[in-house]
Amino acid sequence: MSHLSPAALTIVVFTPLAAAIILFAGIAWMWLRRPRAPLDAPKLLLEWLIPCMPEHRREWGGAMLAELDQVRGRAARWRFGLGCARTALFPPRMREWPRCWFFALRALDPKCGVLSVLLPPLGLPLLCAAALAAERFTTHDDFFNGELVPGMIGVFIFGSVACMLSGLPLGLAGLIRREQLRWLSAIGPVFSLLIFGYLQLVQHVAQQLN
């Protein structure tokens, strides 16, 4: 892979991730096109974040939500809503921030099926970073610290393989949990296998070009 030009390398590394993002964009587009009541996005945002606030601040969250009801005009509602969202995520006491962020992430409830499709393509940028670091480390004596870099490369490789293989257990978990969009959980493991096949193909093509 290191024989490829930077532009070609970027395309190769990020194509599977782009494919996954396009897939999710398509799902979001189809969902938004369904006939439904108009979305009140600022209100939804606050309704998501307010339960994440610490107990003693939740009354303020309710206050902000009630006040949003008074705001008219889309732009004004977004400005007000985003300001309140910032307050919910960054309450006055700094030590409360990690707790708010943790509960906000947990409330998102990321589905296993979604992760089974999203994580495998993330392995490629990590693998690319490991390959580039290894090439630079072996050809330049002054590349950072001689002990630190092999450790970093190892972490990148481990992370990369873990991401690429994650489609299998996550897809299975999504099927067992009977999540919505079960077909995503089914294609997750296939995605993992495809990523390895894709790597082989890229390696083969790069060798042929050289």
């Binding site: 206050a63 006040e67 300001g83 006055p92």
Partner: protein
């Protein structure tokens, strides 16, 4: 506990509340009046309430079809601080507070 001098935005909120100290005020109206964004104003209100400078209450007679609003006004301590800050402000920026209220703490 050592208290830092309030920020200019906090002073703005205190002085806005002090223009009519006995009247309950709403969050959005205060935000419009002080020209402060919600993300700046609400943390200020929270801190003022934590320090006993602001009292809060929910509307008891909300019209049907909308949730009750949260209301705010300064406590006695809050009014004293607002007057002190107003007296420290340059003459051009100080509010003309109603005379009968200046001593009523």
């Amino acid at each position: 506990m050592r208290r830092r001098r309030p920020s200019s935005q906090t002073v703005k909120v205190l002085l806005a509340l002090m223009t009519e100290p006995t009247r309950w005020r709403y969050g959005y109206d205060l935000s419009q009046e002080t020209n402060l964004k919600a993300g700046t104003m609400y943390p200020i209100l929270m801190r003022l309430a934590d320090r006993g400078l602001l009292e809060t209450a929910w509307e008891s007679d909300a019209p049907p079809g909308r949730p009750p609003r949260h209301m705010y006004r300064l406590t006695g301590q809050g009014r004293a601080l607002a007057i002190e800050l107003n007296n420290q402000a340059p003459a051009t920026k100080a509010l003309r507070l109603r005379p009968k209220l200046e001593g009523s703490l």
